[in-house]
């Protein structure tokens, strides 16, 4: 009769340690985000104590007088991002439609690489080109910044749009063709209605990215704290003013700049959250169907 086998595991320590490391690494994400929120709000407190809610509503920003109103920069951020989106979205969706519906197979890969190339170029190189090659012709303004931002967000909108468009059911497309539709009519009838939700999400993600983009904007926006509707006027945006003024900022000014960063953080997070919820829901809807 065999003796009872020993099945207790005592070599499990390494296994447990590994699992602990894994969960620790994952928790790091939560830790970092929490720390960002806490430490930065903390550092922004001096200026908020000094200015109160006027920080968000005042349009005067003067280091000398210790008055810091964020409104021109909030405006600049939103306005340049809006311009960027208006310029980039038709182009991106057009490119996405072209790549997915019109381009012959041999053209698809090179086009995708083209978009990837655009994504790989560092933003500071676009900024350099913008300030040295574009600004002399267009002057530094909201518009110039918007153009540079548009160039930079095209890849992200395009690739997301491509993903969403490719979930269109083949049967829907064939139904349109079977009724004698031209290709554009098929796109209008089958692809666009299906992809609408996801495209909205893609646009919002592009918006979020444009809002957070610092360097390109900093170089070409003009750095004047004014609220103007005329896109040809120069202005400033939150990330740009932080980058440009940090070097010689006083302590209170630094606090104000951090306050701007917190505001920017909050705004981009909200936009990104809404965007990804929209994209998720549209992807689910199509897969479920």
């Amino acid at each position: 009769m065999t003796t009872k086998p020993d099945l207790s595991g005592n070599r499990q320590l390494g296994d447990k340690a590994f699992g602990g490391l894994a969960i620790g690494a994952a928790a790091l994400v939560l830790l970092i985000l929490a720390l960002i929120a806490i430490t930065m709000t903390n550092r922004a407190r001096p200026v908020l104590g000094h200015m109160g809610l006027d920080f968000f509503t005042s349009s005067k920003w003067s280091e000398h007088d210790n008055i810091f109103g964020a409104l021109p920069f909030i405006w600049g951020t939103v306005y340049t991002a809006a311009i960027a989106v208006v310029l980039a979205v038709p182009v991106s969706i057009g490119v996405a439609l072209f790549i997915t519906q019109i381009a012959p197979p041999w053209l698809k890969r090179p086009l995708v690489y083209l978009i990837d190339l655009l994504a790989v170029v560092p933003s500071v190189v676009f900024g350099l080109w913008g300030v040295l090659m574009l600004a002399p012709h267009l002057n530094r303004s909201f518009l110039t910044a918007g153009i540079i931002l548009a160039i930079m967000i095209v890849p992200i909108i395009t690739s997301l749009a491509r993903e969403v468009i490719e979930t269109t059911a083949q049967s829907d497309k064939e139904a349109a063709y079977a009724l004698g539709a031209t290709r554009w009519e098929m796109i209008n009838a089958a692809v666009i209605p299906h992809a609408k939700g996801g495209l909205v999400g893609a646009v919002m993600l592009g918006l979020g990215r444009a809002m957070g983009e610092t360097i390109a904007a900093a170089l070409v926006i003009g750095s004047s704290a004014q609220i103007a509707l005329n896109p040809l006027k120069s202005g400033d945006s939150m990330p740009a003013v932080i980058a440009n003024q940090w070097g010689e900022a006083s302590d209170l000014q630094k606090s104000a700049l951090i306050g701007l960063a917190v505001t920017l953080f909050a705004m981009t997070i909200i936009v990104n959250l809404v965007a990804s919820r929209i994209v998720q829901r549209s992807m689910q809807k199509t897969r479920g169907a």
Binding site: K4, L7, S8, G9, R11, Q12
Partner: protein, 298 residues
């Protein structure tokens, strides 16, 4: 009604007329029968229920599995054969929400006791899967994986183990010159024999096989059945198979499972009859078994 025997019932096998569609079975002489029934117990399964979350997927399994025998689980799809098989080496632990009630005793040790380590269980009970799953490594490294886990580092010993395992799996002559090449470059039948070699390289006591031939052609299947007959001299084998003829040809004992509907209309798997193979296929006690083996359903 339902015959749920803990031991195979013995019956003197005479030349009972074999029903026309039942697979033919090698004749069982009384001496062999006695040997079968007195072999030492390896597994004692009592009142086993398997749950996935709150869904009771398999109900009330009782059986004894004995040393150096081939036990076959047969039955239509979805009646719990693989589920019960995977309980024998705690592979069901990997499925979230899976749990059991009842007992699975391995040499008297409750496999599901809290102080029992699943990893240790699996070192003694190996498994060959339906779809061959060699690691994307060399043939040598595939076989050496198990021994290396057990701490064997010496190159010579590993070489020995690799050769021995490949010979036992009837694969050595085919691959001895290319042990360093990727295992993924072999045919399906070779890959499955590699998986068998890999499993026996760690010298388990039991080898569980989950439909090992279902992805293979008939020639490869025949070779693996041959292999099984050789392997049973050293190992205890439990095999799930869809192929009744395979069970009839190769196994000593057969367990027939089926799926039933309970009062709530939920489907569950159940062990109908468990007995010496010869009896199951020539003179089953339950009509459901008879219907299955004569091909009336399933």
């Amino acid at each position: 009604m339902v015959v749920n025997s803990a031991k195979p019932t013995s019956v003197a096998v005479t030349k009972t007329p074999v029903r026309t569609n039942a697979p033919s079975v090698p004749e069982l002489r009384p001496s062999m029968l006695e040997a079968l029934m007195t072999a030492p117990t390896v597994y004692e399964v009592s009142n086993l229920d398997v749950f996935y979350g709150s869904y009771k997927a398999v109900r009330g399994v009782n059986m004894t599995i004995r040393k150096n025998q081939i036990t076959a689980f047969i039955g239509p799809s979805g009646c719990g054969k693989t589920t019960v098989l995977r309980c024998l080496n705690r592979m069901n632990d990997l499925i979230p929400g899976a749990r059991i009630e009842g007992k699975v005793l391995y040499h008297g040790v409750d496999l599901y006791a809290p102080d029992v380590s699943a990893t240790e269980v699996r070192r003694r009970v190996g498994m060959v899967f339906q779809k061959p799953n060699p690691f994307p490594k060399s043939i040598y490294d595939n076989i050496a994986y198990g021994p290396r886990i057990n701490g064997i580092r010496d190159r010579k010993k590993l070489d020995e183990i690799v050769e021995r395992s490949l010979r036992s799996a009837a694969l050595w002559d085919e691959v001895k010159d290319r042990l360093g090449t990727s295992a993924l470059g072999m045919s399906g039948g070779q890959q499955q024999r590699l998986c068998i070699a890999r499993t026996i390289a760690v010298e388990p006591e039991v080898v569980l096989m989950d439909e090992p031939c279902s992805a293979l052609d008939p020639i490869a299947t025949a070779r693996i059945e041959e292999l099984m007959r050789e392997l049973k001299q050293k190992y205890t084998i439990v095999i799930v198979t869809h192929n009744m003829q395979q069970a009839a040809r190769t196994s000593d004992c057969t367990a027939f499972y089926t799926a039933e509907l309970d009062q709530a209309g939920e489907r569950f798997g159940q062990l109908v009859e468990y007995d010496v193979t010869a009896k199951i296929f020539s003179n089953p006690s339950d009509t459901r078994t008879e219907n299955y083996i004569t091909g009336r359903f399933g």
